[in-house]
Subunit: 518 residues, 2 copies
């Protein structure tokens, strides 16, 4: 087939989105196999390891959606006859034989696997059979094959070192864990440009504490929960700052709305109905009803544009205060141990200078307190994520109260286009590309005509207000060559991308510098 989205995936071949969703929710690994996908298949694509289709080209629905999600995908595999009625796929006259070739995170073919190629006998893949796909080459394998981790060879390393000498843009990575941070450093990242803190709240053993914090009815109850989270967060930051010792780590304070940490209202409503009709435990019903009421009150029509980011920091300052304290205590601890931690505190979803000024004050108060308690001098930069059009339009004011701007171009693309990524990539972007309304998926390649215009405006206004302002980008565009060229031309200081994209970013930054050498 066609190599529609790189990476390798292994799982059970599943022929319907419904079943893929069902098995995916149970934690099973599945590859969704369809003649082609449509928006109605989205719920099956999300939980799948990879997608395989017998029809379609590089800009078909499956290809665009999978690339958007960073999920391996092979499309237009025409040798495959997908028989939905009998829930199987047939390869007419497939020959059997070992073969191996691996791209990045590729499939190392071995003797247990059969590469599907036309031959004399038919091969049948029944629903539930294990298959593997290699989205970098378009190959499809029957059976289990071992996956190989990507590595940088010596020659590629040498090339990257030459690139480093040519480029002017810095390259950082987005990483939320010490493991990712180490991986990023290995690939040459010069810092962490985006360390998200919400995943730390979602660890299974912490969810009950986070939920207790959200459901708290008094400030005391909330404080109790936050006091439990503080040492955990401190441990998280200690690990990452230590892994990146000597290099900057931009830590974004809590970003998603609180209802994301509660169960879904639909699930709760169905559970309560079931418990009631089947004579369920009275106490459990009461408990679930309390959670449902709170989840309803917190639920939002458009969470992407809702009560999140710095808006939470303004209305519930205790949460941000706890996070800032955790960052600073971890920093003081590392300094005492002789390390050189370089955290940077990033406030998300700012729409203007006023929010940032208030939260900057909160950070500085905590900084003074922790410095006094530990006797360690702390001087941590405080900046903001620029991800709303209004933050760009008022960057002359925002720049006065920020030490750095980091462009969150995923969200900035969402608001500039009025596209909810979760909805648009599945429902209409593929058609838009097919009809040439869009030249690219704007979440993959930065849109210079619209989003880029706002970024440029923010860079100019921000630097005028504050010549020392540091400027970076931490959206996914930070790892895409065309977008990296734009960042070079716009005069950003660095790009930040997923660890695995760091080598590409180093090369692309060098290419941009060479192409536009003055």
């Amino acid at each position: 087939g066609l190599p529609a989205s790189p990476g390798a995936a292994i799982g059970k071949a599943i022929f319907s989105a419904d079943l893929a969703e069902e098995l995916g929710q149970k934690g099973e690994k599945v590859i969704l196999v369809r003649p082609e996908t449509t928006p109605d298949d989205m719920h099956g694509i999300v939980p799948a390891q990879g997608v395989l289709t017998s029809r379609g080209g590089m800009t078909c629905h499956a290809a665009i959606v999978a690339r958007g999600m960073g999920k391996p995908c092979v499309v237009g595999c025409e040798a495959l006859q997908v028989d939905l009625d009998n829930r199987r796929a047939v390869v007419k006259g497939a020959k059997v034989g070992p073969e191996g070739e691996a791209g990045r995170a590729g499939v190392a073919g071995d003797k247990n696997a059969e590469l599907l190629e036309p031959s004399t006998a038919d091969m049948v893949i029944n629903e539930g059979d294990i298959i593997a796909i290699d989205g970098a080459t378009g190959r499809v394998f029957s059976g289990e094959v071992p996956l190989v981790e990507p590595t940088l060879g010596a020659e590629f390393r040498a090339l990257l070192e030459w690139a480093d000498r040519a480029r002017s843009l810095g390259v950082r990575a987005n990483a939320d864990t010490p493991e990712d941070a180490r991986k990023a450093r290995e690939f040459g990242a010069e810092g962490i440009g985006l360390c998200r803190t919400e995943h730390m709240f979602m660890a299974p053993e912490r969810v009950p504490i986070v939920q207790a914090m959200i459901l708290a009815e008094t400030p005391e109850e909330r404080k109790q929960a936050l006091d439990q989270l503080l040492p955990m967060q401190q441990g998280d930051f200690y690990g990452i700052l230590k892994a990146m010792d000597g290099l900057p780590v931009t830590i974004r304070l809590l970003d998603p709305p609180l209802h994301e940490f509660l169960p879904k209202t639909e699930e709760l409503a169905v559970e309560i109905t079931q418990l009631r009709l089947t004579g369920g435990d009275r106490e459990e019903i009461v408990r679930k009803e309390a959670i449902l009421r709170r989840a309803r009150a917190l639920s939002e029509f458009n969470p992407m544009l809702g009560h999140r980011g710095c808006r939470l920091g303004i209305t519930t300052p205790e949460i941000y205060a706890m996070q800032v304290r955790a960052i600073l205590q971890a920093t003081a601890q590392l300094i005492k141990e002789g390390c050189q931690p370089r955290p940077e505190i990033m406030i998300p979803v700012v729409m203007g200078a006023e929010e940032l000024a208030i939260l900057r004050e909160l950070c500085l108060e905590v900084m003074q307190a922790v410095a006094a308690e530990t006797g360690i001098k702390l001087d941590v930069p405080i900046g903001t994520m620029i991800e709303l059009p209004r933050a760009c339009l008022t960057a002359d004011e925002v720049g006065k109260v920020a030490d750095f701007f980091s462009f969150g171009t995923n969200d900035l693309t969402q608001t500039t286009y009025g596209f909810s990524r979760d909805d648009a990539e599945g429902k209409f972007i593929p058609q838009y590309i097919e009809k040439k309304i869009l030249a690219h998926n704007p979440f993959a390649v930065l849109d210079r005509a619209g989003v880029g215009k706002l970024v440029k405006m923010a860079v100019e206004l921000g630097r005028q207000a504050n010549p020392k302002l540091k400027l970076g980008i931490c959206g996914e565009h930070g790892g895409e060559p065309n977008s990296i060229e734009f960042c070079h031309l716009t005069g950003l200081d660095y790009v930040s991308c997923s660890p695995y994209r760091v080598p590409i970013a180093r090369l692309a930054a060098a290419q941009a510098a060479i192409k536009h050498r003055k």
Copy 2:
């Protein structure tokens, strides 16, 4: 109390948001009475006729939320002791006596009503008792009082005529029905700036046809449903164009995402669970499951940024083609009858020129067809609603394929700020105003620093590309004096607002012209 949001309301005094919601869903008229409101009360404010609180000032939660919704509200009525435990409110030593005074759509006090004022005897309002509030004066009445419709007196009419001579901005109204159109004309509107078409799809007798159109599994099924809707839509447009004979009527094609016309997934899931556990009808379960599947597939994470507006027009062109045909057939019919219909077709949610170019082509094709069929010459302007930042940023391209721009500043405010209005006004805007992060609710008063900057950019780029471009505004800001001044200064041709705000807009437009006379 304080007159927090103008207009009069009558209903049962209800002391909890849950009960207000429950009764509201049954169609009962309620006034939510609370010591003060919080984001947790939103579900009770939405269905209430009005809100009354004993505490809070002009910028408290209830005041801001009610003003945002255009719902009458009295706050800080300190004579009222709200006793939530006993579900009643007490006015210590209230005197009893008739009194009457009415603002716009005000309360005409009469002998059946008692104005609550301190006196010698206590007065008790029990839950369920009828009360009335007048949000223009802050008065609260016990018992039924007749409401009066607002009228323009002769002196006010004279003043407005003087204003008309001074102003340069045109004033249109937003109206979806012939009745509203007539009301608007009576108040001096010079046209309809926004005629929404989705309400026409939501009439109870049409919902089954609209749902059949959405659930259609073949193009034929869909066409059958659209063929049923065509004469209905034609009738709608005939009525409005006739009421506005000789004046322009800007008709916006379907805007909301299709799932808004289906039942909520949570309700369906609970109904299905109930039917299953109680041995419900097999066929009904199957039918409901089919709707649930479709509703799930169509459901969106952020409907505001989802598959709506021109995105529907691009992916399901049959719907827009039907609407355009209905507009043009109604126009031809009226011309035959000797009228002067002046429709303008408006394409919503455009993010750039490409979408508009394709849909303009579709409109022109239908126009040619209807002209050929009816033998009537049709020359209907085709323009777009500018409501996304990217449409402003690329207005030099959009202007080339548009006859007019109408700024949809409600949605433009949502995307520029990254605020979902439905969520933000209830959850954090009140606190933002209290903390002076926002000077005003940006959905009430147009934000010149951010949204205004984008509007100006679009006006300049659009006019450069197309000097004949007509420019208007149809967000709620079109009826707010400070925002109208901005529109005057930015060189728009007209503002459009709710019919009841037309007189204010005429005055404000004159004031702006006089203040900034060159």
